[in-house]
Amino acid sequence: MNQETKKAGWWSALWRPSVRYSVFSLLFIGFVIGVMFWGGFNTAMEATNQESFCISCHEMEENVYKEYKNTIHYSNRTGVRATCPDCHVPKEWTHKMIRKIKASNELWHKALGSISTPEKFEAKRLELAQNVWRTMKETDSRECRNCHSFDSMDYTKQARRAIQQHTEGFDAGQTCIDCHKGIAHSLPDMHDVDPSAVIGG
């Protein structure tokens, strides 16, 4: 009985105007708390946008990370590296938030162990890759274009096959991922996607 009135007193006190503190000091406290929350939120956003976070899951470390380490986006002539979030997390705020919310589904599957072994990962890989391909197609490969833009490509400096395909491909409205599948990881089982490019067919 006593306990309950106490609680109710607390609650109503929150709604009563303050007697002791000035409006300014209250605003100031609110401001400080706001900064702390926002800072904490952004720190968490940043922390989960580090490559080390991505590969803290053994699922990522053992499969995609190992493969990516042999590719041009990990080590190259100029020493500019594209990390996991560069390709997989949008830079712009709203898109980034949407991607982060979607990632909660990934945490759920982590808990379920959906891809906890290399075999399970291989079995799911086509589906996972197709999700990425679909998104990139929808966004006109936005994450690739954060670094590579076809407006700044000097075709005359490119390799023979690239010149020809880029000039024709962009004119036909194609996007990076149409031609550059498997740029950072091994391809999934392509039997259903391109049977002429697999053994047996």
Partner: protein, 147 residues
């Protein structure tokens, strides 16, 4: 007598064995001791992409006139065929694999590339200017050379 024969045999073995061992073992690794780290590989500068290179004899697997770094060939997919298969060559502007690539071991023509032609880099190689590992006096068939 038996003793003497055995001694002769053992000595012969030692002498012959030694002379064989003393000979330089010819391998790509050179004379480097098995426990030593191998010599650093020569840095290879691949030739820039070009039009198809002339062939030196009729049955020669054509040389690859472009870089193939990172092109994977495994159970899941064959990167080469994403451009060179009959379904894809037009779009990629590439040469299509010839009908010999569809012939199976027992001479049967298959509908897709044959397993013995699946690993393209067994026969096809990109080009770099390097010192030949073994000296040779090979000359290309003159009739095939562009004039």
């Amino acid at each position: 007598m038996k003793h003497l024969l055995r001694w002769v045999a053992v000595t012969l073995c030692c002498v012959l064995g030694h002379s064989v061992m003393a000979e330089e073992v010819a391998s790509l690794r050179g004379g480097t001791n098995i426990n030593d780290p191998s010599l650093p590989a020569e840095i290879i500068r691949w030739q820039p992409e070009s039009a198809p290179l002339p062939r030196d004899y009729v049955q020669q697997p054509p040389l690859i006139p472009h870089k193939i770094e990172g092109y994977q060939i495994n159970l899941n997919a064959n990167k080469c065929l994403t451009c060179h298969s009959w379904a894809n060559y037009k779009k990629a502007n590439a040469t299509k694999i010839s009908p010999t690539h569809f012939r199976g071991r027992d001479g049967i023509e298959l509908a897709n590339v044959s397993a013995r032609r699946y690993f393209c880099t067994q026969c096809h190689v990109p080009q770099a200017n390097t010192q030949p590992l073994v000296g040779n006096s090979f000359e290309s068939v003159e009739l095939l050379q562009p004039r």
